[in-house]
Assembly symmetry: C2
Homo-oligomer: 219 residues x 2
């Protein structure tokens, strides 16, 4: 069996894995689990991932979960081109930047969190959008501060002149900013770097709106 | 200058770094930034970390942020004893388990998130506690499912018979469960493994309630 990716068109975590597989030139089959309709709780997927979350990478009979763990796994298994530098300080910077979006921001805007906000608070649907934009903006500010800070090695890409998993993470953040209509003008360095990424077919081909099941307009 | 850790007694992310440094037997100086009183926005700390978040590790003139990136850095710099296994599948399991708490759970219960919930929704202080317990319970369930699932390598510890960063992450989750009065009875395997960790002085000495500034009772 080849590489299988359980994902969903608009899942930003799935997007990250698609980009990494594309950059490594690994062919894979994507199987869609509609997390808006609740397919992650169906019996089929519950057996694949009892945590009911996407994405899941199936490789060599093993199931790998959590997008950052999958990115690291992909880099461990297929080292060329490297998406994580060799030097400890540079590795830490790549991971720290990635975690500003993968840990500090994205878990706050996934469907299960927005659903809770929408169901438990007075402003309903509106509160979901206000909530998502608030945390996306805070994430953009934090990323911009990092990229323009004294320790930054940002150049063509987030950490130097080669693409790393930090660029993948930042691109997924910007796709989220677009999908939710948050404000990217507060993060011009982030915009410049991810604009360069989006010119790369590995990134552009992985975009949520280009996947099967996606609407013509952003949701 | 030796190793400096900017942290706060009750910060679960700081706790993770304390445990890792203890396990590696690295001596360090902890400097407290009171994130409840807002010291993370003071000029002094804003220069150290413009993202205003803890923890920050200072080593060899470099600033490392984000707890998981710091744990990986510590393991890169001081490899003995290893806190991440060598095999790619095992590494992925260690990282995935860590991310269930570091990414999926903890960012939802940090002060900035609870503050937003408390300020923007009708139930005020109560809503913060209900919110925190909800996500901690969901995290405990997801961790328990992982530890008892078909692919699990849980034994004495989360991934086999040696301590890894997954144990550090799970211990920080359980400390959060205790501090917020969430329900650990739903995760007996998690409890068994972390009970073993808490017997280890590297874990017990790092506990929030044993740090300078902590109250006698959980907050």
């Amino acid at each position: 069996m080849g590489v299988v990716l359980y994902g969903f068109w608009r899942s930003l975590a799935t997007y990250r894995v698609r980009v990494a597989l594309n950059l490594k030139k690994i062919s894979y089959e994507e199987r869609s689990i509609d997390i808006v309709r609740g397919q992650q709780f169906d019996e089929l997927f519950s057996q694949i991932n009892p945590q009911h979350v996407l994405p899941v990478l199936i490789h060599d009979g093993k199931r790998i979960t959590q997008s950052l763990a999958i990115l690291e796994y992909i880099n461990d298994i297929w080292p060329d081109p490297p998406l994580i530098p060799m030097h400890a300080v540079e590795r830490a910077a790549v991971r720290a930047l990635s975690l500003i979006t993968i840990a500090d921001t994205h878990p706050l805007i996934v469907p299960r969190t927005r659903k809770y906000i929408g169901e438990n608070h007075e402003r309903g649907e509106d509160s979901q959008l206000i909530w998502a934009r608030h945390w996306l903006d805070l994430g953009s500010e934090a990323i911009e501060d990092y990229l323009t800070g004294a320790d930054s090695s940002a150049d063509l890409y987030a950490c130097g002149n080669a693409i790393t998993i930090a660029d993948i993470a930042l691109a997924s953040h910007v796709v989220g900013v677009e999908l939710f209509g948050a404000d990217l003008s507060i993060a011009p360095t982030l915009k410049k770097i991810t604009d360069r990424c989006f010119l790369n077919p590995a990134f552009s081909g992985a975009h949520p709106l280009k996947q099967s099941g996606a609407p013509c307009q952003p949701q």
